[in-house]
Symmetry: C2
Subunit: 430 residues, 2 copies
C-alpha cells in the first residue's frame, strides 16, 4: 500500500492540520518573497544567539528523544545521529551564522540584454515559494534546512523524523523566535506538529497546491517513497553509487590516495565511492597497489574474478555488488577494458551522482568527462568533494541527480527560480 | 476515468509498441548526447531540402487529413489550423533552417571557477535525454518540435493529434530521411504510429523511465490532462490569462495602443491579454479612452459596475470572466485601487503567465515588476511580446509558467541540463 493510498484512512485531524499548515505557508511565502536580506539575516542571527542561550533546553529535549530511542532499541549509528551535545549545538548556531554570510540570491539579475525591438530584458532571480522537507533523525537538519529556505526567500514546511521530535521542536521554537524578532511571519518556518505518518502522505499530495517542491533527506527507503509517491516535484537522489576509475595512465600513488579518501574519509555520505574500476592494461600493477592500500586501511574488498586472481583476501562480488551503495568500509572492484569499459560499467550500474577518473592522460580524461552522464565528474580528485561547501556554494540542502531544475549540490541559488522583467517605451508587436 | 486508469484496458499491442519506442529513444539519446553541431545541422538542412522537394507528397497527405476532418464536421478554425499549402510548407522548411542558424547549447560552459582546494569547477550544458511532445492538430509542430529537440541533443517522441495523422507522418518521414542522411540514428525523432489514445497514457507513465520530460502543446483540456496525470515532469502552462494594468500615470495614447495590440493582434495565442485593469484614480479619463478604442477595433467588453457606468456598450462581467481565457476578441475590464489593487487582482485570478503595466512613473513600475509573481512582467510593452523569438531565443517549443527548471519561453537552452566537470591534481578531501 503506497503512502498516497494510506491517506484514505488518515485521521481527519491530520488532514485539517496539514491543510492549515499549507495555507499558512502560502501566506508566509508572499511576505518572504520580497523580504530584504537584512530582515532574513536578523532572524537567523537572533536564532543563533538564542540557540547558544538555550543550550540546556535543547539538551533536555534531546535527552527525551535519546531515552525513547534507547527504549526502542535503536542501534549505535542511529543513536549517534540523533544525539546532541554542546559542540553539536554550537555547530548548529555556527551553521546559521554561516548562512547569514552567504549572498542573498533573491532579486539579483542573472542576465540581461537588449532586443532590436528596443525592449530591455532582465532575468531576475525569485524564490520558489513553499518548500517541503521530509527528513529523518538528525535534528540539525531542522536548523540547516529552515535557514536555507528562509535565506532564499521561501517558506518551508519541515517534517522531521519521529525519533528527533522533541529536539527538532526545541530548535524550531528558537527559529520561530528569530522570525518574530525580525518581524517576519512565524509561519515562514513550520514544523509538522505530529508524528502521524499520514502527515507525510498529505505533503506528498502537495497540500492543495501549496507545496512547490519537496526535498527528501535521509535513507533510501525515505527518498524512494517520496520520489515514487509525490504528486509535486522532488529534488534529491536515490543512490550515491560513486565510481573511481583508475586508468592505464594513472599515477599509482595518486590512485591510492584518491581511492582511500573517496572510500574511507567518511563512508556514510552519498559522495563516498562504492566501486573501484581498474583498466585491464594496468591491472597487474595498479590493482594490487590500490587494493592493498585499501585493505591496509581496513576496507573490505569484493571483486570480480580477475581482481580475485590478482590479490589475496578479495571475496567474490555478485552482480548485486555493482549496484549496492554500501555506505560502509566495503568496496566492489572490477577490471574493465579501458575508459570505454569504465563508461559502460558506470552507464549500466551507476546512479548518475559522482564519478572520478584518475589519469595523467588529458585526452582520456576529456573522454570520460564528456561521455559520462553523471551530475559530477572529477578528474584526479576524490569523489568526497561532491559537496556544496567544496563547490563554493556554502551550505547545501542535499545533492540532486535528476536533470531538471537543479543538478548536483542544492544550495541557495538552486532553491530559486526566475522571472523576466521587460522594460519598453510603448512597444506594440508588429 | 483518468487517462492513466484507461490504460488498464489498453491494447497490449499499443503497450508493446510504446515500450519499444521508449527503448529506441533511450538508445538514440546516447548517440545524440555527443553528436556534433555539424551533424545535427546537416540532418535539419537535408530535411528542409526534402520538404521543398516533396511538397506534393505533403499536400496529398494533408488532403487526406482535411477530407477526414471535413467529414467529421470540424469547425473553420480547426480546419485552418490543420491545413497546409505551399506557403505554409515553405514556412516549415524555413523554420528548420532557422533552427540550423541557432547556436548549439550542448557542451558550452555555463560558468566556471576555481576553489581554494585547487579544484577547477565547470558547469557544462548537456541534453536532458528523451523529450515527449503531445500536441494537437497543427502539423508544423512535428517539424518544429522535432528539430528543436534534435538541435538540443535530445531524442524526441512525438504524439500528434489524430486529425493531422497523415500530414505529420509525411513530415516525420522527411525528418527521418534527414537523420539518415547525416548518419544519425533515425530513432532520434519518432512519431507514435497509432492514434490509439492509450499511447498517450503510456507516455504519461514515462515508458519505463525512458521519458525525461513531457511537453504538451495544445488547448486547455490537453495540457490539463497531461499536467494532472503525468508521472514524469511536465513543462508548459495551463492558461495564459494575461493582464494589462493602466496606471494613473499612464500616457493615454500609449495605453490605447498597448491594449489594442495586447488584446487584438492575435487573439488565439497565450500571450494575448484577457483582462484590462484601470487605476480608479484615472478611471474617468483613461478607462473610456482605452475601452472605446478597443470597441472601435471590434472588441467585446465585459466590465465591472464602475466600468459599465463610465462607457456605454459594456456588458456585465461575472466572477467567471476574471478567470476566463477568451482567446477571442473579448476582454474583461475592472477598475482597481492603484497598483496594489492591480497586483491583488492578478494574484487572485491570474495564471502567472504574462502581465503588463502602462505607466510613466518608474517607482510604480518597479513595484509592479518586483511584486508580481508571473513569469513575464512588461513595463510599457504589449503582452504579445511573450514569445521566444521576441526574447532573442529563436524558436520556442512553448511557454512555461511553473517555477521549476525553465520559466517563460522554452527554447534550446531550456531543453538542456548541465553537469559539473571538476579538474584536480590529486586532491583528497581533508
Amino acid at each position: 500500500m503506497s503512502v498516497v493510498e494510506k491517506l484514505h484512512t488518515a485521521d481527519p485531524d491530520v488532514v485539517a492540520t496539514m491543510r492549515d499548515i499549507g495555507a499558512h505557508a502560502r501566506d508566509a511565502a508572499k511576505v518572504l518573497r520580497s523580504a530584504p536580506r537584512k530582515q532574513k539575516d536578523a532572524a537567523l542571527l537572533a536564532a543563533a544567539m538564542t540557540i547558544r542561550a538555550d543550550v540546556d533546553l535543547i539538551l533536555a529535549a534531546n535527552e527525551k528523544d535519546m531515552e525513547a530511542a534507547q527504549a526502542r532499541g535503536l542501534t549505535g549509528a542511529m543513536l549517534d545521529r540523533l544525539k546532541l551535545d554542546d559542540d553539536r549545538i554550537e555547530a548548529i548556531a555556527k551553521g546559521l551564522e554561516a548562512i547569514v554570510e552567504l549572498e542573498d540570491p533573491v532579486g539579483t539579475t542573472i542576465t540581461e540584454w537588449d532586443m532590436p525591438s528596443g525592449l530591455h530584458i532582465e532575468r531576475r532571480r525569485v524564490p520558489l515559494g513553499v518548500i517541503g522537507i521530509i527528513y529523518e533523525s538528525r535534528p540539525n537538519v531542522t536548523a540547516d534546512a529552515g535557514a536555507l529556505c528562509l535565506k532564499s526567500g521561501n517558506a518551508v514546511i519541515l517534517r522531521g523524523g519521529s525519533e528527533s521530535f522533541h529536539s527538532s521542536r526545541a530548535i524550531h521554537t528558537i527559529l520561530e523566535h528569530g522570525l518574530d524578532a525580525a518581524q517576519l511571519p512565524s509561519k515562514a518556518i513550520q514544523l509538522v506538529p505530529t508524528t502521524d505518518r499520514a502527515a507525510v502522505g498529505e505533503m506528498l499530495k502537495g497540500l492543495d497546491g501549496s507545496i512547490d517542491l519537496l526535498v527528501p533527506r535521509g535513507g533510501r527507503s525515505l527518498t524512494e517513497r517520496v520520489t515514487n509517491d509525490a504528486r509535486v516535484p522532488v529534488l534529491g537522489h536515490l543512490d550515491g553509487l560513486c565510481h573511481v576509475y583508475v586508468d592505464k595512465d594513472a599515477d599509482i600513488e595518486m590512485a591510492q590516495k584518491i581511492a582511500i579518501n573517496a572510500k574511507l574519509r567518511r563512508t556514510g555520505i552519498c559522495g563516498s565511492a562504492e566501486t573501484l574500476l581498474v583498466d585491464e592494461a594496468v591491472a597487474d600493477t595498479h590493482l594490487p597497489a590500490v587494493v592493498k592500500a585499501l585493505q591496509d586501511a581496513g576496507c573490505e574488498i569484493r571483486g570480480d574474478e580477475k581482481s580475485q586472481a590478482l590479490v589475496p583476501g578479495i571475496s567474490a562480488a555478485t552482480v548485486e555488488d555493482w549496484s549496492t551503495e554500501y555506505l560502509d568500509a566495503i568496496i566492489a572492484v572490477a577490471v574493465v577494458p579501458g575508459v570505454k569499459g569504465a563508461l559502460a560499467h558506470i552507464a549500466e550500474y551507476g546512479s548518475q551522482h559522482t564519478e572520478c577518473i584518475v589519469t595523467d592522460n588529458q585526452e582520456t580524461a576529456d573522454k570520460f568527462l564528456t561521455d559520462c552522464d553523471s551530475a559530477i565528474l572529477l578528474h584526479n580528485a576524490s569523489t568526497q568533494y561532491a559537496d556544496g561547501g567544496e563547490f563554493g556554494m556554502g551550505a547545501e540542502i542535499g545533492i540532486a541527480t535528476g536533470k531538471l531544475h537543479a543538478r548536483g549540490p542544492v544550495g541557495l541559488e538552486q532553491l530559486t527560480s526566475f522571472k523576466y522583467v521587460v522594460r519598453g517605451s510603448g512597444q506594440t508587436r508588429p
